[in-house]
């Protein structure tokens, strides 16, 4: 990570970034040299706290709310995967070492997102969500989530596809802000996760593509798991900005399924909260 580059990018948008960060240029020099010395893993945290000092007072409420909303989802995802790797009540076996490695990669990214968002929010960050506050069986809907590898993957897919939709749904709140770029960089990582989880499901025998297709009988949910219908509500759209995508400009190869696949749909905050709350215990719901 090139911290100096990031600062220069911000300077293009906010010419006073250096003044905000510190009225003393020497303090910035300290940070530059620190950036070279501190461990790679600690850099985002240090950077996050630096931005909090710079913008913490002026971060608009809507932005704080959106980042805290994202933080809640990242906590959920992190605990879901972390427990699948470390939980003593987990009885399913990963079919391959690659499968476990992939879940580890995803867990590590979710933790990185938690830390990044916490750092960016600083004292405005919401209270921590612990594993004890979660219920990944969703009150029994996915009762064998940690005993059945397939169930585990289905819930994982629900989290990833929801995450992708949730970030998209919040994009306009962050419009024009440097933090939008960060949110987009998280968003596409979640989409990469979703694609891989879908491939893991396919490897386990499910009929599913790496991208969200049209469900059987033309429904929006392409997973074959009716319990996750709310995750895919509205995904079967094939008209974008007034342009009908199916068969566009005589391209008959662009079927309704292709038209649905090539645009992922956003999901509004309230709908995402309903889904997230299925996995949070009473007293900890959003």
């Amino acid at each position: 990570m090139n911290i100096v580059n990031i600062l220069e990018e911000i300077e293009k948008v906010d010419g006073e970034i250096y003044e905000r960060l510190s009225p003393r240029r020497s303090a910035m020099k300290d940070f530059y040299s620190m950036g070279k010395k501190i461990a790679f893993a600690a850099a985002p945290l240090a950077l996050g706290s630096m931005f909090t000092k710079a913008y913490g007072q002026t971060l608009p409420t809507a932005v704080v709310n959106t980042l805290n909303f994202a933080l809640s989802l990242e906590y959920l995802e992190y605990h879901f995967y972390n427990h699948a790797l470390l939980g003593t009540d987990v009885t399913f076996a990963y079919p391959t070492t690659a499968a476990k490695a992939a879940i580890t990669t995803i867990r590590d990214h979710e933790l990185a997102h938690v830390n990044l968002l916490k750092g960016a929010l600083g004292t405005s960050a919401r209270a921590e969500i612990t594993y004890a506050m979660t219920d990944f069986t969703a009150s029994g809907t996915f009762g064998d989530v940690y005993q059945n590898y397939l169930t585990f993957l289905k819930v994982a897919l629900g989290f990833e596809d929801t995450g992708v939709r949730a970030y998209k749904g919040q994009a306009t709140v962050l419009k024009g802000l440097s933090v939008l770029t960060t949110a987009l960089q998280i968003h596409s990582v979640e989409a990469r996760h979703a694609s891989h989880i879908r491939q893991m499901l396919a490897a386990a025998g499910a009929s599913i593509k790496p991208w969200i297709s049209l469900g059987a009988g033309g429904i929006a949910n392409d997973t074959g798991v009716p319990q996750v219908d709310p995750v895919y509500a509205g995904e079967s759209l094939d008209v974008q900005a007034g342009v009908t995508i199916t068969g566009i400009n005589g391209n008959t190869g662009v079927t309704k399924a292709a038209a649905v696949e090539c645009f992922d749909e956003p999901l509004d905050g309230a709908s995402v909260a309903v889904i997230a709350n299925l996995f949070l215990r009473t007293g900890s719901k959003l």
Partner: protein, 240 residues
């Protein structure tokens, strides 16, 4: 008569100077381009005709959302052209499933391209001429490597351009497309090496940061410089 001759001479002078039909107005825009834009034009100049062909170029004017949308249109044109070629004659070692998914991706990119064309209407840039001479379309390794480059670069391009978009609807549309490109990228990466779907350490040159769990994000000048070898049409970037 004399006046006419002078006018013709002046016209000729202007033509030789500005090489064809480049108008005064666009020259002024060109002259006012940022240093980054100028460097990009210089880098994109093709030597085969002996002079820079201003006439055939496409101009991306980033002063407003149309510039960003045309930028996306340019990248989607490139991707679509690539996948059309792959899908029409896939490498012989591709499995049936891989052939089917490359067909899928082909139609996704065609749909993206045609969407931007229709949405931009008269504001759309023309069709770009591509140059895939560096890709061996009979080799799975070469095709997959190029596909990964296009998808990862596409993701970084949308991620880096999002902050420039001023209209809510366009920002959401860019978001709707970029996650599909990320799904493509993960799929292609997993064919090349299973588990590399989100190997952010391999994407640092595109602005990714593994420690923070962040994907790539690049400014348009950097994206176009990287995509330059695949595009014959000269792309002029202004107001970046």
């Amino acid at each position: 008569m004399k006046n006419n001759e002078l006018e013709i001479k002046d016209e000729l002078k202007e033509k030789s100077l500005f090489n064809g039909s480049l108008g005064r107005r666009s020259f002024l825009q060109f002259a006012g381009a940022s240093a980054a834009g100028m460097a990009l034009v210089a880098a994109g100049c093709k030597k085969d005709r002996g002079y820079p062909d201003m006439n055939a170029g496409a101009t991306l004017d980033f002063k407003d959302d149309f510039g960003v949308l045309n930028y996306a249109y340019a990248l989607e044109q490139l991707e679509a052209a690539f996948y059309v070629k792959v899908a029409s004659a896939p490498p012989s070692s591709f499995t049936a499933a891989q052939k089917a998914y490359f067909q899928d991706i082909q139609f996704h990119e065609i749909a993206h391209r045609e969407f931007f064309k229709n949405a931009l209407s008269t504001a759309a840039i023309g069709s770009l001429e591509v140059d895939f001479s560096s890709i061996d379309f009979t080799s799975a390794t070469s095709v997959l490597g190029a596909a990964m480059t296009f998808e990862d670069l596409g993701v970084a391009a949308y991620n880096g351009a999002g902050v420039r978009i001023k209209t809510d609807a366009y920002l959401v549309l860019a978001g709707k497309i970029v996650s599909v490109e990320a799904r493509h990228a993960a799929y292609i990466r997993d064919i090349i090496s299973n588990g590399s779907f989100a190997d952010l350490n391999s994407l640092t040159a595109l602005g990714a940061n593994n420690a923070a769990g962040l994907d790539g994000a690049l400014t348009p000048d950097k994206v176009l410089a990287a995509a330059g070898k695949y595009i014959k049409t000269k792309i002029n970037v202004i107001n970046l």
